[in-house]
């Protein structure tokens, strides 16, 4: 696997940093080289939360990057804030659950993809597993970690919650799978390709 750079951006509370950490741990458990760094400036207080993650087989250089292979923006502000990370090689993903004007989307992208993660979480699953759908989508788009490693990392991270309520395990794993499928479909069909 050559170097894959991902920027995940959302509002505080959407769980962007949690899934970045779980994905990075899953990759680490698969003996891949991984760096995960959150943006932690003052912007974080009431601003957009961004997770920068890199995966590779080889030692990774600088912890941040100028352009990402995949950007996932989970709010209107997150779209605005992350267009700078997009260039002609970038898959730019946003959620169709909020309104985005065409001119807000990046000028340059390999593909712009809209996925309905927020709606899917609210209607089919539970609002709380919205971020896990996104985590599944990252895997569907990039294969940075195997599905099994992602499940194992989720299990590890949420063990105490699963113990209290075993139904949550199934809910999270379903969300992960749905996210992965949504992303794979979107790559095939090129839905909402506004580029």
């Amino acid at each position: 696997m050559s170097l894959i750079k991902i920027a995940l951006a959302g509002e505080g509370g959407q769980g962007v940093q949690s899934i970045a950490e779980i994905l990075a741990e899953a990759a680490y458990n698969e003996n891949k080289q991984t760096i995960y760094i959150p943006n932690f400036g003052l912007e974080q207080r009431g601003g957009v939360s961004i997770a920068f993650i890199q995966f590779s087989d080889k030692r990774i250089g600088a912890p941040k990057f100028n352009k990402a292979d995949v950007v996932i923006a989970l709010s209107e502000r997150a779209v605005e804030r992350t267009t700078i990370y997009s260039d002609k090689n970038t898959l730019f993903v946003y959620d169709t659950g909020f309104k985005v004007e065409a001119e807000m989307l990046p000028q340059e992208a390999k593909k712009i993809i809209g996925i309905a993660a927020i709606d899917t979480a609210n209607q089919k699953l539970h609002p709380r597993v919205f971020n896990i759908i996104i985590m599944g989508a990252v895997i569907g788009l990039t294969n940075v970690v195997s599905f099994e490693a992602a499940k194992a990392a989720l299990e590890h991270k949420l063990a105490y919650k699963f113990e209290k309520n075993p139904d949550l395990r199934d809910l999270n794993f379903r969300a992960l799978e749905i996210g992965k499928k949504m992303a794979e479909e979107s790559l095939k069909e090129g839905v909402a390709n506004n580029a």
Partner: protein, 362 residues
Amino acid sequence: MARIMEETRKAFITGNEAVTWGALAAGAEIMFGYPITPQNEVMHYWTRLAPQYGKGFLQTEDELSAGFTVCGSVQSGKKAFTATAGPGNVLMQEPFGMAEAMRLPLFAVIQQRGGPSSGTVVYSQQEVTLTTFGGNGEGHRIVYSTASHQEIYDYTIKGFNTAWKYRFPTFLLGDGYQAKMREPLEMYNPEDRGIEMIDTYPLIGLPGHIGENREPQHLCNIYSLEEELYEVVMRVSAEYEAISPELVEYEEKECEDADIIVLSHGVVSRAADDAVKELRAQGIKAGYFRPITLRPYPQKQLREAIAKSGAKKLLIAESAYGQLDRLTKQEIYGETIKIENLFMPGVGIIDYDIISKVKSSL
């Protein structure tokens, strides 16, 4: 000394956690600190782990006090340390100066943030001048600039030993990126790697009577006469210069036939390493030089790299406006190699930035 880990183990943690584990493994007994981003988690993790390992912690009223309590603690023979950043590093220069004056085995971790003033809480390499030379002194300090979590762990352990062996204040110079990012490393007990931790010893309250059966310690940071101070500073300078050759550490790659040598330190050296590999792949003869100790500086080794390569240019890349550049120029005074620079104060540098700069420089 109690073993912290049953066996060597891999971990995927932040740099701040790596400092904490390194300090535990090194046998640190107490941390004094005051919160400031991006070093906060050194304190957080230490306070979480300290009770489990019978260690101490004191949050002082400010950084001045944190630095001075370390000065006091090490005099009583405790393996003490602190960690700070940015304006906190500015405030701590007064106690750090005392540690220079009194030759105290103080160890401190600096996680650089943007400046001047409160600047940003994020990242920079703008605390090089401050950390290497401090305030009203002569820079009698030892500064390790790390580039990975493995080095943070290794040099935290080493830093305590350096401080207690040589009795010069010793610093681990990291930055916000290294502090906050997660990456894999291997953690170990020093003895499992053949590293012998130096036993600490009290500097005050020693047995015996001065003038009868022991010499005075002369732990002094103020003198009545100019001549007294002069004598002390000259003696300490000579001692510092004498030990410098054995303290100097650096990394050098591909300098044998380089047309241009990329010089960087800390986290930027990771991008420089990648850039040099990519430039070589494209047929451009680039070399890589990285001082690990910024004080003392590997000036002899850099001069040798310049001489053997016959390089025409030295590119100094740093996330500051010329702090490594100034330090390097004073250290290699007399060299005629042309010096180019890539100054990006307060922001990260990636391989692309260095590759572009090298190409436009040649």
